[in-house]
Symmetry: C2
Subunit: 641 residues, 2 copies
Amino acid sequence: MPKIKITLPNGSVKEYNKGITAGEIAFDIGKKLGEDALIAKINGKLKDLFLPIDEDAALQIITYKDKEGIEVFRHSTAHLLAHAVVELFPDAKPTIGPVVEEGFYYDFGISHHFTPDDFVIIEERMNEIVKKGYSVERIELNEPEAKRMFKGNKYKIELIGEFHEQKQPLSAYKQGDFIDLCRGPHIPNTGKIKAFKLTKIAAAYWKGNPNNDQLQRIYGVSFPEKSMLEAHLKLVEEAEKRDHKKLGKELEWFNFFEESPGAPFFYPKGTVIYNQLLNFIRGEYKKRGYQEVITPLLYDKSLWLTSGHWEHFEEHMFKLEAEGKEYALKPMNCPSHVLIYKSKSRSYKELPLRIADFAPLHRNELSGVLVGLTRVRKMSQDDAHIFVAPEQIKEEIFRLLDFTNYIYKDVFDFEYEVELSTMPDKHMGELEDWNKAEESLKKALESKGAAYTIKSGEGAFYGPKIDFHVKDALGRRWQLATIQLDFQLPERFEATYVGTDNSKHKAVMIHRALLGSIERFIGILVEHYAGKLPLWLAPTQVRILTVADRFEEYANEIKTEFEKKDIRIEVDARTESVGYKVREAQHQKIPLILTVGEKEEKNSTVAVRTFDNNVYFDVNTADLLEKTIKNIEEKKVKFEI
Amino acid sequence: MPKIKITLPNGSVKEYNKGITAGEIAFDIGKKLGEDALIAKINGKLKDLFLPIDEDAALQIITYKDKEGIEVFRHSTAHLLAHAVVELFPDAKPTIGPVVEEGFYYDFGISHHFTPDDFVIIEERMNEIVKKGYSVERIELNEPEAKRMFKGNKYKIELIGEFHEQKQPLSAYKQGDFIDLCRGPHIPNTGKIKAFKLTKIAAAYWKGNPNNDQLQRIYGVSFPEKSMLEAHLKLVEEAEKRDHKKLGKELEWFNFFEESPGAPFFYPKGTVIYNQLLNFIRGEYKKRGYQEVITPLLYDKSLWLTSGHWEHFEEHMFKLEAEGKEYALKPMNCPSHVLIYKSKSRSYKELPLRIADFAPLHRNELSGVLVGLTRVRKMSQDDAHIFVAPEQIKEEIFRLLDFTNYIYKDVFDFEYEVELSTMPDKHMGELEDWNKAEESLKKALESKGAAYTIKSGEGAFYGPKIDFHVKDALGRRWQLATIQLDFQLPERFEATYVGTDNSKHKAVMIHRALLGSIERFIGILVEHYAGKLPLWLAPTQVRILTVADRFEEYANEIKTEFEKKDIRIEVDARTESVGYKVREAQHQKIPLILTVGEKEEKNSTVAVRTFDNNVYFDVNTADLLEKTIKNIEEKKVKFEI
């Protein structure tokens, strides 16, 4: 029997009989891997597990833990859905069934109009197909065979024609009696799809074109384990409760109007949050040697030509004309700060020069992709550009890592991950500069002891960058802070400084935003804390509830004392039950709810209910005030008596 | 002799012989008036003093105290200039010589290129013409006569043709041998022009069109008294020294770049001033029940159609397109606030609702009229819109007068004047509403005991308004705060509230900005204080100068103590002379300059130099810190030890 050599990801080489399948090798490596295996990566290409391997190859077994495994798993669930639908609705014509962010969908040409009631019978039939544990088969086809096979489905016929024209190989996948035109790969058996749920129906058009046939789209999610589906559904439910668009409107923190798509209106309470964040960052700027500036929003085209934005970013800029000249609203602050930097000759003594700006930025995003505060057309960043000499890069990055860690870990108690993105294929500038810059970033990360992943080739075209991904309370990852090195803008604008040698040198720019977009950051905070913001950020920090009218005076005395210390406090002296007033205050996400009655007035105390729903009785009012001030000053996430 | 009846401005009627001149009547009324008289207003029309009056008429004698008097005086000085120029440069062709804001100019077609050296001989010749005391004569002409008279001057010939076509009467004015085509009126004698000065030469084009002949323009100023010219020149000199554009650049507070015309860049120090002003206003808002919001800048055309801006303000808005829809950058905040107001049903209990906003506003001003911070394309206002019930107008206006007085008188120690502008001919809404509104404004002004002038018919088309004019250190008046009543926007947007009667009522809006544009206000502050801003606003509040290196440590100790109290302080420990360091600190307009040496270190004191250049020795450092904190907190204009 001829042998072949299989190289595994850990570098070890195993010998097998020619014609062995990746599925078999997986079981040879271990039973668990064999059972979890979904597809194979053979010499870097994704292949079905059940195909024979005839030559020496590098092999990686792909499971649901891998991104590719998840995608193929979802794609196979789309086939499962189509399989069930054509059995239940014989006139249904499957078209395409791709993977999307959360799961998959399949578009059908069909006379029946799907309703959520159909989900029950479709899911039931899908379950039967899963239980039957059909093996999945790949069939290679030539064009006439393919056209014969799909002759009743005009959509597939059209696709076959196109693929043939593009000289793409044609293949189909078969499970039981169901055959779908597909390039694959697929998981080897329908039995692996242990948990799924259909989630949504939508109208669609063949190839997304409203002039074509209307199709019926069914969305779904799927997982290899029931527990994962349950966890997912719980997450969705929790995420819906925390949805910042919903909470923002309910709490009157922020809202949107169709007159200004993608541009949030921060109501008075939301503006408190916004301004508290700015004040926080401004306080840090003072300690960390940043200088704030206020800059224009509209700039002449000539500036954008020099900066390269006209070439690389034009479609995302709002452009207008005045007196025959073209202007654009700035999507980024960088060129504004280069203008300031260049307004006079700079000496090495002035570096690092840290210019900070909260200017509103505008990006012409398609209205279809706008999402609450997280995808907007108008926003402000806690943006700064730092001009440094090349030898200052490492030290400055070190400071920035410290600053970022302070914000995310110390203040917001977020877990975060760090990624270093290196030189992309399409880049500007010299290799030597890139190497130096990447080395500086690595050294800074390492001397900080920060764990980080390298994203090879994913840097910006002008320089490498460090991105920070924050994990929220629901385990979702959000890309927030970014620190980018830039050799190109200083080159394009001739931003230099006079060195110790009395001659001119090119400066290096660091672009950095740590909260990122303030709008997006608020959206994420609201969802992370489910609206229960830390005391220092809460629009109303304290509400005092009276148990009866006659304690209003005492409540107001407390209010006055707290207000003297700039605490945002209200009194609810309405003649409603305390229970009702507590529920209302909780609904409004007020961190500290104080109740006052006879005993409290006599003892100069209050009863305190924190946002964790802990209740403390007979708390001395003066002590509470002190603890409140301290909690705010220290920007604590929790409140403890 | 036939008699005519002349009615004077005070209502008295005098009888004169038919054919008397206004100049004679002026002398009859009084010698002083006769000597000061420049022109006459006869039945509301400006006429030469020397023309006979043949019918009963209302007469007002116009002197230099009247705006019209100043204009005619300047126009006559332009003739005086042309008179001198044609005598000195026989090939000079006078074209036109109008009045401008500060004085006048005259454009000449001439081969010679004027230089400031020519001013001496031209001014000398002008003086001679003044001394000769030529009487001025008016000559009525028909077209052929006029063309004959000006046959050597193609520009005048062109004008004559045009006037004739437009059926305008033709006339010329003659003094000595000099004749100019002019509709008049003019002052009666060249001898009245007692003081003048040529100020500037500029290139110009015939009719402002670069395709036409190039002309030479000479600017000048003139006055009826030498002392007035001297005062004017001193004011110009002082104003130049205080010019905020010059100071802003020198002090690195703010600057402009051609890439963004009319949009200031506030450098770090200027941003401190800007943010201090915002903090000041925000502090007042807290005390006075205002709620700040953050709003979008770009709005769909539909909003501007509803608000009426598209109709009344379109040419001043920057417009752009996205996804086939028209948007405009907001020039004002009002519609944004109406959207917020209307986002839910409002009860009378919520009124007055005071919504404040510092959003950047954009106005598409012609680049030619832009001036530093005082006439810009981008600015923010300390803007607020107050929604009130009609019966709350008076009380709210009263509060606003108090707020304005606090800012202008108590904080900045400005003198100011108040104007009430009433219903214009072109107005919207019911007379009854207007009457009520004007009455409310008057009552509020009167119960405040505020002196005010009524500007009849100068209100906005949507309601009456109160404007505040501030007088700066050079006596110049600046229109700043404005309080405007508006019945129209609530009508157009159907902004209502539910009253005590449980039915809907139309709200009234008050537009108000007290600093006005923050940018403009800063420009005026810089000129008013000649850069020496009050301590609380100064970008750097204190600088410590060491008399020798070894006192740097002591200086830094003081710095640390002051910084703990958020005072903006620096140390100048360079090995330069104290005198040099003082001059530099003064040049940078630093309010408090401290000097430390041996004695000061030993005694824990400092020597203090205030911005009034008062010097205090041996001031206890702790005492000074306390006084500094107090001065900042109280926003004092002066600093006293």
